[in-house]
């Protein structure tokens, strides 16, 4: 999955070929954009990026690429297999599984993205503060410990049980679940960074804490944060599916991959296409995000790249 140094050198030697394809190998290892090159030269990550971009584009332009609305019911043509009209077949209500899969990408990606940003933002804020201010550290981290004491999905369903089924609530519940995870990571990097000399200097010249936190500490933690966030996206998408299966997720009828797989599993023997396509999309998307995360880690962390 990861190119070794020697492979990279070989790739450099074969520069001509590469340049025609990517012109990436012109980025020297010293450049701050070198990681992009490493990432894109990782075949698994590259394929995943292409796949994920396709899914995102399909999701964004969903109305243009589908011929039926995702909620358009047509019981006369229910439970039909894949055909020219219905590429992915139809479900129990005669809804187009292809449309629903494409629109489902919107919700799944929305949940994944919103949770990533929510947990990323809150987790960063908590982590930075806890790591930077000694006095805040213990109380804040104890609270995080408290949230982390629950198995994630259990906490999420307990929250959903109280809030009720809605996409917004799924996002809220999953943000609560994933925030401590991010906070712990950010606290760790902050603890290291704040002892660096340039932070001392910045403080000495009278820079304000929030500026220091924003400009230096946060930026310094960005790489591990980004890597962590990709995994949060992947887990959030899966968690949404599990919540929907348990009846504590996005309301029924809304096209999400989780809902579709969960509704379709009852019909697995009768209409495999109801499950296969959204299931495959879910599986491949989560896998792609994980592979991108791995690739990013390798690309952003020189130590791991050495492996």
């Amino acid at each position: 999955m990861v190119l070794t140094r020697s492979q990279e050198q070989l790739a450099d030697l074969a520069g001509g070929e590469h340049q025609r394809r990517f012109s990436l190998s012109s980025i020297p290892p010293s450049s701050r954009y070198y990681w992009i090159r490493v990432l894109l030269e990782n075949p698994a990550a590259l394929a995943s990026l292409i796949f994920l971009s396709t899914v995102i584009i399909l999701a964004v332009f969903a109305p243009l690429v589908t011929s039926y609305a995702p909620t358009f019911v047509n019981p006369v043509s229910r439970l039909q297999g894949p055909s020219a009209d219905y590429w992915f077949g139809t479900d129990t209500l005669g809804r187009d599984v292809f449309s629903r899969s494409v629109y489902g990408a919107r919700i799944s990606l929305l949940v994944g993205g919103a949770v990533m940003f929510g947990a990323g933002f809150l987790g960063s804020a908590f982590g930075l503060v806890a790591g930077y201010y000694d006095r805040a550290d213990t109380p804040m981290m104890r609270v995080m410990d408290g949230f982390e004491a629950f198995p994630g999905i259990l906490l999420a369903i307990a929250i959903m049980a109280s809030l009720g089924a809605a996409t917004r609530n799924v996002i809220v519940a999953l943000i609560i679940v994933f925030t401590p995870n991010v906070a712990r990571l950010m606290r760790g990097t902050t603890l290291v960074t704040k002892r660096q000399l340039y932070i001392e200097s910045a403080r000495a010249i009278g820079m304000r804490d929030h500026a220091i936190l924003r400009k230096y500490v946060f930026m310094n933690s960005l790489s591990p944060l980004i890597v962590q966030c990709t995994f949060v996206v992947a887990f959030a998408i899966l968690a949404e599916a599990s919540l929907s299966f348990l009846g504590a997720g996005v309301p029924a009828g809304t096209a999400t991959w989780g809902n579709m797989v969960s509704e379709g599993q009852t019909y697995l023997q009768r209409a495999w296409w109801m499950v296969l396509f959204p299931g495959l999309l879910l599986f491949m998307t989560v896998m792609a995000i994980n592979l991108i995360g791995d690739g990013l880690r390798d690309a952003l962390d020189p130590r791991s790249r050495d492996r």
Partner: protein
């Protein structure tokens, strides 16, 4: 069982399409009156007394509405009703009319004793105390193997004696004497005596609506001798045996000692007189019943619940398997012999399996869309008419039950009853979005969203709501589909706030007085008008069937003209059982109420 009155009520309560033609039913039904509400009440209570027990995801709460994946008796084969102008089917005698040549009852062969029969329930009972409300269907399915009643029903819905040995009523129906069979042991070894019956009835009357009804007219209950009781009424009541017969929250006879210990709380011990006795319960795992070797049952050929109960199977295990996909898979894999709550879409894959016996049964429920007349948009009759005009029932049926598992028809009483009527059929399934749009304009509809409440706990109802939503939207309505869990749906539906439309289903009623939206202005939907009340008054008080039928037809017409609600499709029942279970099917037990495993055997 001896008096003429008894015979009459027996006829009156019959709705067995297998033996009677529609015409003979119509003539015999003249006697309808006192008896039918009781049977109907029994049916209603049996299927619909669930409340927030979500284990049983087939019932949608309330004491009156009943979703659809229910089984019914008989066989759905095509027969010409002759004078029917609606696309209704009249199933005929399934003994000779079985079109696919497969015997759904698994008849024939020599009975074999032994083995353990395993049943997959959709949910787990909290208690098997039959008298208690809110138990749902599962406790009934399990409990009636352990408990018995004084009277029960035979295959033709005639009354039969179970624990009773004789019954006599005075001519004025004020004094009722019931003697019980001698030498009937309880599972604890004690003999059943009159004191047990009296203790049971006193408790039952405090818990069960049927009991409350009976005791409402009761002056005193007395022990004549150790095996005879006497009920003295304060007002005449001709249906004492029916009220005491098996049914939802029915008068299952417990030992007096058990009742003393529990009062009206849930009983601590399950001790009955039935052919199976309670052996073990493990939460979320199983309920195990074993044959009661000292059982002393009534004699006679088994018929419905009546007659001999042979208890061929040694043990019956009931397992809660809540996940539908897992339940079906386990059934196909042979883990269970029978499963509750089967949806029609699963039937197809089962039909190919020679290890399974699958049957489609005639309708015993119909889909219903309730409109909130009390508050909001639907208070305007023009808007309601627009809803009516927009409805196309066939896709709703397809979505909720699948092709071949429903039929269309305007009758708000099922065609298997004597009350089938085409009145108002011009307003049934109009499928006229243009007219709907026109009506909306006329009503000055301003685009306020219609709040349609539904639940995903019942997939059929939910699918139906999705289709209905789309039909309304095509006509120009704005619709907000509010998906609630089952319990919340029931609460919301019974209050006037926060909703405009709900959908569910009504189980078979034998008499229209038992349809809550007809009988009461207080029922969810609050359909009320002077015409309706007047027509209902006649339905209730007239004695002659023709006059009652006329009143009912007027009510059905009003239902369509005033748009009391929307009647959807009639839903077929379905049955699936593993083939090694012999002598079990729509003809060997009263499937439409609760199947019973007392006379089936396992073929090795």
């Amino acid at each position: 069982m001896t008096s003429d009155h008894e015979r009459e009520t027996r006829h009156a309560t019959s709705f067995d399409w297998r033996l009677l033609t529609r015409r003979t039913l119509l003539t015999r039904a003249v006697a309808l009156g006192l008896a039918t509400p009781v049977v109907g009440g029994l049916l209603a209570a049996c299927g619909g007394d669930d409340d927030d027990d979500d284990d049983d995801d087939d019932t949608d709460g309330g004491d009156d509405a009943e979703p659809t994946e229910a089984s019914a008796g008989g066989d759905a084969t095509e027969a010409d009703g002759g004078d029917d102008d609606e696309p209704t089917e009249e199933p005929d005698d399934s003994d000779d009319g079985d079109s696919d040549g497969d015997d759904p009852n698994g008849l024939g062969g020599e009975p074999q004793r032994g083995g353990r029969l395993i049943v997959a329930n959709a949910g787990q009972p909290t208690s098997l105390d039959i008298h208690q409300p809110a138990g749902g269907r599962t406790p009934q399915l399990i409990g009636w193997h352990m408990f018995e009643t004084l009277f029960t029903w035979d295959a033709e819905y005639g009354l039969a004696m179970q624990l009773a040995a004789s019954y006599e009523a005075s001519d004025d129906a004020m004094l009722h004497t019931i003697s019980i069979r001698e030498g009937v042991p309880f599972h604890n070894g004690n003999e059943l005596v009159a004191a047990d019956v009296i203790a049971t009835l006193d408790r039952w009357a405090q818990l069960s609506p049927l009991g409350e009804l009976l005791y409402g007219s009761l002056d005193s209950i007395a022990e004549v001798d150790s095996h005879t009781i006497e009920l003295t009424m304060s007002s005449p009541i001709g249906t004492v045996p029916q009220l005491l017969a098996r049914g939802g929250q029915g008068a299952a006879i417990y030992p007096a000692s058990v009742i003393e210990a529990s009062g009206t709380d849930f009983v601590e011990e399950y001790i009955g007189t039935g052919p199976y006795q309670f052996t073990e319960f493990q939460a979320d795992r199983f309920t195990l019943l074993t044959r009661f070797e000292d059982y002393v049952g009534p004699d006679g050929e088994p018929s419905g619940y009546a007659g001999a109960r042979n208890a061929y199977v040694d043990e019956i295990e009931f397992r809660p398997v809540p996940d539908e996909a897992a339940r079906v898979a386990g059934f196909q894999a042979g883990d269970y012999h029978y499963l509750e709550e089967l949806i029609a879409d699963q039937i197809e894959q089962m039909q190919a399996d020679s290890n399974l016996r699958v049957a489609t049964l005639p309708p015993r429920s119909y889909g219903y869309i309730g409109l909130n007349h009390a508050q909001g948009l639907m208070t305007d009759v023009t808007i309601r008419k627009a809803v009516q005009a927009a409805m196309n029932i066939e896709p709703q049926g397809l979505a909720s039950h699948g092709e071949g598992f429903f039929q269309l028809g305007p009758g708000i009483m099922l065609p298997v009853t004597v009350w089938d009527s085409a009145a108002g059929s011009e307003f049934y399934s109009m499928n006229d979005p243009e007219l709907a749009a026109q009506l909306l304009e006329e009503a000055g509809y301003d685009g306020t969203p219609v709040r349609w409440i539904t639940t995903q706990d019942d997939l059929g109802d939910y699918n139906s709501a999705e289709v209905g939503r789309q039909q309304l939207e095509e006509a120009g309505f704005e619709v907000e589909l509010v998906v609630l869990d089952e319990a919340t749906l029931a609460t919301t539906r019974n209050g006037q706030d926060g909703w405009d439309i709900w959908n569910g289903a009504f189980i078979l009623r034998t008499d229209p007085t038992l349809l809550p939206y007809l009988s009461s202005c207080d029922y969810s939907g609050w359909w009320c008008s002077p015409d309706k009340e007047a027509a209902f008054e006649r339905l209730l008080t007239e004695i002659e069937f023709d006059a009652r039928y006329a009143a009912f037809e007027e009510l059905q017409t009003l239902f369509y003209e005033e748009v009391g609600g929307i009647k959807q499709q009639d839903n077929y029942g379905i049955m699936a059982i593993r083939n090694e279970v012999r002598n079990f099917g729509p003809n060997t037990t009263l499937f439409e109420l609760e199947p019973e495993f007392t006379n089936c055997w396992l073929e090795s």
